[in-house]
C-alpha cells in the first residue's frame, strides 16, 4: 500500500521532470516507479497511461533502462505496460502495445556493430528491417531477448530464457533459441 503511494509520487515527479527538462520524453498520467528508471538518449520516447516500472523480485541490482541511440529513434510504450527490470535499447523504432507484461528481458532493435572486421556501424540495417513491434496483451518471460526486426503478435506468450529473433504469431507460445512455437 505504502509502496504504491510512493511509487505514484515518484512517477509523478519523474513525469514533471521530463515535462520541464526533457521535451523528448512524453509520459501520460499514472506512471508508477517502484525501482529506478533511467531514460537516456536523443530520440523520442512516448509512455502511455498507468504504466508500471519495477525491478524483478529478489534482485536489487537490476532496474529499467530505456535508451535511444539516434535522434530519429522512437520508442512508443502503450497503456498499462508493466516493465520489470527491462532494458530497452533502440536505434530505429520500438513499439510496445497496451497491457503488456515484460519481465527481465532485453529489447534491442539493432546489432550495434557489423559482423565484418571493422566492427563499425552496421550498414545493412534500416528502420523497415529492424523495427520491433510488440502487440497488445503480450507476456514476455524472464531473461529473454527480443532482437531486431521482430513482430510479436497480440496475445503471444514468450517463455523465460528465449531469444526471439523471428516474428511471433498472435496468440502463440514460443520458447527456445531461436524462439519457436511450442505446445507445452
Amino acid at each position: 500500500m505504502m509502496t504504491d503511494i510512493f511509487a505514484s509520487l515518484r512517477g509523478g515527479l519523474f513525469r514533471l521532470r521530463c515535462r520541464l527538462f526533457r521535451p523528448n520524453i512524453q509520459i501520460r498520467k499514472g506512471l508508477k516507479v517502484y525501482k529506478k528508471l533511467r531514460i537516456d538518449g536523443p530520440g523520442m520516447i512516448y509512455i502511455g497511461e498507468n504504466c508500471k516500472v519495477c525491478g524483478i523480485r529478489g534482485d536489487h541490482s537490476q532496474y529499467v533502462t530505456i535508451d535511444t541511440h539516434s535522434p530519429d529513434a522512437v520508442i512508443t510504450i502503450g497503456d498499462r505496460v508493466s516493465l520489470y527490470a527491462v532494458r530497452i535499447s533502440s536505434k530505429f523504432h520500438i513499439t510496445i502495445g497496451n497491457n503488456v507484461l515484460v519481465e527481465e528481458a532485453g529489447i534491442v532493435d539493432t546489432d550495434f556493430h557489423s559482423v565484418d572486421k571493422s566492427r563499425g556501424n552496421p550498414v545493412y540495417e534500416s528502420k523497415e528491417k529492424c523495427r520491433i513491434s510488440i502487440g497488445n496483451n503480450v507476456c514476455i518471460g524472464a531473461k529473454s531477448i527480443v532482437t531486431k526486426g521482430v513482430n510479436v503478435g497480440d496475445g503471444a506468450v514468450v517463455a523465460p530464457g528465449s531469444v526471439v529473433s523471428m516474428s511471433v504469431m498472435p496468440g502463440s507460445l514460443v520458447s527456445g533459441n531461436p524462439a519457436k512455437q511450442t505446445t507445452a
Binding site: E103, P160, P170
Partner: protein, 214 residues
Amino acid sequence: MKNNSIRVIQNLKRWVREPSYGFRLTKGLVRGGFYVIYYRLFRRNVRIRFPFFAYAKVAIIGPGSVSIGRNCHVFENVFRGLTIVTLSRDAVVTIGAGCSLGGLTVRCINSVEIGDKTMSAVSLVQDSFFVNMDEAESTVNRGNAIPPARPLVIGNNVWLGGHSLVLGGSRVGDDCVLAACSVSNGIELKEYSLASGNPVKRALPIQQLLALRK
C-alpha cells in the same frame, strides 16, 4: 567415517599451509551463523541448517517455506550470492546438504526441490512461468493459456552451468551436468547426462562421453 576423517585432516593441513583459507572459512561460518540465527528468529518457515558458510549475501524473500541443508556454501558469483524468492504462501523450497551455491536464484510458486551436493553457477531455477503470475494471467486473457507451475525436482550432485535456466516442471536426474546457457523447460533429464542448448535436446550420457575421450 574414514573418508570424513581423511577430509578433515586434509582441511587442517590446508589451514596450516594457508592461514588465509582458514580465516575465510571462519568468516564465512560466522556470517552464515548470523544468517541461520536471523532466519530462525524472524522467519519461522525458513530453516537453514548449521553449519552454513556464507561468503556473499543470502536473500530469502517471500511468504513460503525454505529449508537449506547442512554444510552449504554460498559464494559470490557475478556480484550475486543466493537469492530465494517464494511467490506464495504454499511455496516450498528444499535445498539439500553440501551444496555449493554461488549466484543461484530460485523463484518458486509451487515447489522446488534441489538435491544434495548441487553445484551451481549464476543460474536461475524458476518454477512458475512468470514471476508476477496474477498480472500475467490478467494480461493474456484469451487464446494461449500460460502453462501452470509444476513441481521442479533437481537430483543430487547436479552441476548447473553458468547462466543456465531450469524452468517449471523439469526433473533433472542425479549427477547431471547442465551446460552454460542451457534452458530446460519442463524437460526430464536422465541420470548422469550432459544437457546443453536452448531448449535442451538429446542429453548426452556422460559415461559414453568419457569413454569416447579415452
